[in-house]
Symmetry: C2
Subunit: 370 residues, 2 copies
């Protein structure tokens, strides 16, 4: 099978529409010249409605994890106390980064598959009143859970500490799920080009609040390549401090045009509809979801592998049928598989996933019957 006819349904990188791929492959330009400046202007403007912010998101050339690292090193100083609100691989990773750079990390773990609890956050902050920053995950890609960021931020802001920061991993949510950085009072929001943005990987986009810029000026964790000040200084001239992934930025420009044409509300509605369609279809096949229903994500679905079924064989069976899904991570390896449905995805893609799943399951049952 060639990659041309694969239905790529991992939770990133996601499929790239042909016109987006073509835009990314246009003849190279100087990242210090007027062509790139125009592209960058359009991209920065195009991102704002999806971030729900009036400020300019920054563009950094790295993966989403680089974006999480950027949030940490630009906002914190070694020794700062951080509350990590986590319920999966990516929440844990955010905390691990903070720890690697010298923060004192308090971990508030929710059971994987369940949403983070605002009450637990409020309690944790009462127990640790010195917390400088709270790390949230909007959409936990490893478990298929979407957290209620607004309620979590409200729990954080109850203490009315004016310089406490909220850093939100929105890597697999922003652009597909409603997000309101300004409205929800989020200080740093991170996403990645290869998720909801139907663009190739290589770029992280980061929204930064006024409060965050103030704290950034005081933050002393070491940084250079990911430094927000350097990025902002250059962004004011519509360029980047270091050579950006020019092709990815241009792909994103094209993707944002498609997204703008579809419209925010339509995009959000499509993701809701498709998430539901997949969950219903999975249930119809007698399979269980990993996430608690009230927190099920509309961009990533984690499905429990039925008892007695080998996960890698099931995933392989779907692959044979042209659908590429992802395995579980860490202790969930073997226990779940994950379907990405963000960005360039429609109802038909979901039906193809369900058909492949049905086929792979039938094959497994037959094998066992023999």
């Amino acid at each position: 099978m060639t990659d041309q006819n694969i239905n790529l349904r991992v939770p990133g990188p996601t499929p790239v529409p042909e016109e987006v791929a073509r835009a990314g492959a246009r003849p190279m330009v100087n990242h210090r010249g007027p062509e790139f400046a125009a592209v960058m202007s359009e991209v920065v403007e195009g991102l704002k409605p999806f971030f729900g912010t009036t400020s300019d998101p920054l563009l950094l050339t790295c993966s989403g994890t680089g974006g999480l690292e950027a949030a940490i090193v630009n906002m914190l100083s070694p020794g700062d106390e951080v509350l990590s609100v986590t319920g999966g691989v990516f929440g844990d990773r955010f905390a691990d980064i903070a720890q690697a750079f010298g923060a004192t990390v308090r971990r508030l773990q929710s059971d994987w598959g369940t949403a983070s609890s605002p009450i637990a956050v409020a309690d944790a902050l009462q127990a640790h009143p010195g917390v400088k920053a709270v790390l949230l995950t909007h959409n936990e890609t490893s478990t298929g859970v979407t957290n209620d960021v607004l309620s979590l931020v409200e729990a954080v802001r109850r203490d009315a500490l004016p310089d406490r920061l909220v850093l939100v991993d929105g890597v697999s949510s922003i652009g597909a799920l409603p997000f309101s950085q300004d409205g929800w009072d989020v200080d740093v929001a991170i996403t990645g080009s290869q998720k909801a943005w139907m663009s190739p990987p290589g770029l992280t986009m980061i929204g930064v609040s006024e409060r965050a810029w103030d704290e950034h000026a005081r933050a002393t964790m070491p940084r250079f390549y990911l430094d927000f000040s350097k990025a902002r200084k250059n962004a004011d001239k519509r360029t980047t401090p270091f050579t950006p992934a020019v092709g990815v930025v241009r792909a994103l420009q094209q993707a944002l045009q498609l997204m703008s044409a579809e419209g925010l509300e339509s995009i959000f509605a499509r993701h809701r509809r498709i998430g539901e369609r997949l969950r219903e279809g999975v249930g119809g096949l007698g399979l269980e979801l990993f996430a608690e229903p009230s927190a099920a994500s509309d961009t990533v679905t984690a499905v429990r592998v039925p008892a007695g079924t080998d996960a890698s064989r099931l995933i392989g069976g779907m692959r044979k049928r042209g659908v590429v899904v992802a395995s579980g991570q860490e202790w969930l390896k073997g226990a779940i598989f994950r379907v990405g449905h963000m960005g360039f995805v429609d109802d038909q893609d979901i039906d193809l996933v369900l058909a492949a799943l049905r086929g792979a399951m039938a094959e497994e049952l037959l094998e066992k019957a023999v």
Copy 2:
């Protein structure tokens, strides 16, 4: 003017051949799947002859500056003494990164436009015997100077300190100029996809010696996204710890096929020939080179702007004629312009540069005459 007919002659990003751009735009694949593993295997193998190493270069998704930062944070501990051998913007940047992460940096400055001196390096190391790592720039992109890395490394190794490291910025050299990481005993060598490799920006490739891996295990600077251990552990499975710039890796795969077909020696000879052609042509127009002739780079040429001529007008005049060159950086802004001639470049491109330069100069003279 559209970018389709621009002769992009900045020292990176460099023009991308159509088949390379097309390869980078192929339908997206899972970076944890067999398609990407095959691509990554081929890329890692294809890089080795150009690095002059038998070990596997690492791939990180970031610009060359990210690669320089990776070399620093993976090899050093805060407080380590570092000798920065610099003669331009990028040598200084390498030193600045080391300083930002807590190294004690001794700066050995050569006059910009001149090569770094092995004798000065030996003297500096006698004065600072505790130096843990020496930072070298193979090709200084800001001045058009190529340094003699072998002689500089020999000066470093005279002291026979078994754990002293040599980190080489080869961002604008490796792939176009002869390089021998193993033969020259270089510990970390860094390059970037958008330079000699005629690929889009977004990827840094880093060669790591056995000595470097040993020291890496002891190095305590904070790191996460750029961590070599994470990269190696995943590279063993032919993937990357975090979502890579998949499109850029595939473009690089195609570019390496072209480079392998042309052959190392032919590529090096082409760059030598073209460098000379440009330098001769520039001299023929009565202009002076910024670099001392014995150290003139075969990938980047810095040309002095004639007295009384406005650099930005001259650069604008060339741009009007379809040739995009770069201005000088920092105190060289206004004093020089820079022409990139690495990667996808042939004799005709150089002739077009010279024709545009001649035209722009004539226009300036006419303006003055009026």
